[in-house]
Symmetry: C2
Subunit: 340 residues, 2 copies
DNA sequence: TTGAAAGCGCTAACAT
DNA sequence: ATGTTAGCGCTTTCAA
């Protein structure tokens, strides 16, 4: 086992001071070419690498970003993570990552743990429980202690910091309009995420589209299904209203489950019922008919968040906070009729 | 902005030495109760947290594990990651994580970057390109420099270290047997991952099952589809052999795509054709009929890998290397006939 | 009961 | 051209 060597080892080897070695390796003009050469050769041969922990201590920068994600099994978050990772790596930043599992406590504890100097900043999306409890003190603490933060997707007005959000309102409005324009008269909203800020925004976009089209909002068509309710049973009750001819599902799994259900009920898709859902993962693309989705551009959101944080870390420390709104795209597939 | 305070600040505050503060905060018996009390109060009030970078430098331990994953959009890896994360957090370890995107270069560069002292050890699964090139020098280097490593899923015999692998051979054999036992006569193997060690093992398990059942191996039924070939076109050619009545797909997306294809071709599932696939993600569960899958227990694999590494980091440094083989489970759903 | 000093690995200002 | 010193924040002898 060829352990890592330090400047000290090299200094001893050549009977010079540690400072000389340090300068030689950084190619300082203060050091003679000869000395530089032999030291550099030795360093390479022995695979010298500066100890980044020592550098972090010295520079008070760790080149590390903390990322907290509510749930990595969720396609959208996985995409965002990939985007963050890519931009971070490009800029020489490492990622310390953590999954909050939608738990407020895990989110809080992680932040407390990581505020100890290992990080230059945070990128995070709030846990569901945090959004329900509206308890944001841990975020404020981090900011107060000088840790820049970028919030994405699930954000809160209670905290002032950089943010990257999806235009959920507009995405839902546009999708609802598309349903209306392709002939749907009775569109139900299916939400299993009404706890989340994004769920509420999407619902508002849906309502707005209805109003703009002179369609009355029917509360019976706004379906909120809780985590612990049986989805299929709830949907069957909803679908007992056979006049429903459009479904706007606020995330992908409820759309796929609904699709399979209505197929069993011998609905023709999209003739009898059109479906659109948020989150453009594999699920909606692989089922038949393929489901029209609202893409939130997860990867791009991750890239944007990472870029914003890195910019702040490397300079514009006091620039005013920004909120970037990423437009959604409607990806038309087979579960909706074609526009006229 | 209330910046983080250090021992020095506290020492100045009370006109004592840094050492006294340090001892007071660690509740040393050397320090008087009075002093301890006032220092502790002040520390809490000012939210003192020891700087973990300084501690890392001192202890030469970072309590951080590097995790390299080929692709986070893959359900299996996402599950493994969640498992690693959970066990790591439980034991007070942070995760520096990185996505290799199946690229050998990214894997290599990441490891080089992280070998600089930020990590206590690695957990990784090899990038596809690494398995193709069979270039493992970067792994050897890390081990030589004293960084313990746990390899999972995509491993290699060329490296001696702890490993956690799926019993791919047995899983495929068992699944193939299940197809045979439920009446399939002509079972095709569909592999889009023949580059990977796990793909090869699964193919062997399939062959073994055929042999054991006295069924001749027909090379025309062993279908390897490359990344750049069109999956559907290739499958149509395969299915022109209408005697095929069973499909063993080596990962989930090819199974779902095949399912949708054969449904369009008016096959009855499972009557005309049975399907089993590896990887128990959402995809196979949400389509109709639900696909019978081989679960690799991703989360458990992650937990096991993390536990192995942490054990090695905290003691059994020189224990002999272990390879843990995790048994798969066959999850029977609607795409296979019931056993008699 | 408290403090001084050394050291983890490194850089940078300041000698020589 | 090279070395000395100090210091990043902390713990741990050893001394007072």
């Amino acid at each position: 086992m060829r352990k890592r060597i330090t400047l000290k080892h090299i200094a001893n080897e050549f009977d010079v001071s540690i400072a000389t070695v340090s300068k030689a390796l950084s190619d300082s003009h203060e050091i003679s070419v000869k000395t530089k050469q032999k030291i550099r050769e030795y360093a390479i041969e022995h695979n010298y690498k500066p100890n980044s922990v020592a550098l972090s201590l010295l520079n008070k920068k760790t080149k590390t970003i903390g990322v907290i994600i509510p749930n990595i099994m969720n396609t959208f978050f996985a995409k965002v993570f990939a985007g963050i990772e890519e931009k971070a790596a490009e800029n020489g930043y490492s990622l310390i990552s953590c999954i909050s599992n939608e738990s407020h406590e895990k989110e809080l504890k992680t932040m407390e743990l990581l505020k100890n100097g290992t990080l230059d900043g945070f990128i995070l999306s709030l846990a569901e429980e945090t959004q329900v409890k509206e308890n944001y003190q841990h975020l404020r603490n981090a900011i107060n202690e000088g840790l820049p933060m970028v919030l994405f997707d699930r954000v809160t007005d209670a905290i002032e910091c950089d943010k990257v959000i999806v235009d959920d309102f507009e995405g839902a409005r546009h999708a609802t309009n598309h349903l209306i324009n392709t002939g749907c008269k009775r569109i139900a909203l299916i939400s299993v995420i009404d706890n989340l800020s994004v769920g509420k925004l999407r619902a508002k976009g849906y309502e707005k589209a209805l109003i703009e089209n002179g369609i009355e909002i029917d509360p019976r068509l706004i379906v909120k299904i809780g985590k612990h309710e049986d989805f299929e049973t709830s949907m069957k009750i909803v679908l007992s209203d056979t006049s429903i001819d459009g479904l706007l599902c606020l995330e992908e799994s409820s759309a796929v489950q609904s699709l399979e259900l209505v197929k069993r009920m011998h609905y023709k898709i999209p003739e009898d019922l059109s479906i659109i859902c948020f989150t453009n993962g594999k699920l909606p693309q692989y089922v038949s008919p393929k489901i029209t989705t609202i893409s939130q551009h997860g990867k791009y959101i991750g890239e944007t968040a990472a870029t914003m944080l890195i910019n702040r870390l490397q300079g514009d420390t006091d620039a005013p906070f920004e909120t970037k709104v990423i437009k959604t795209s409607l990806i038309k597939r087979e579960s909706t009729r074609s526009s006229f």
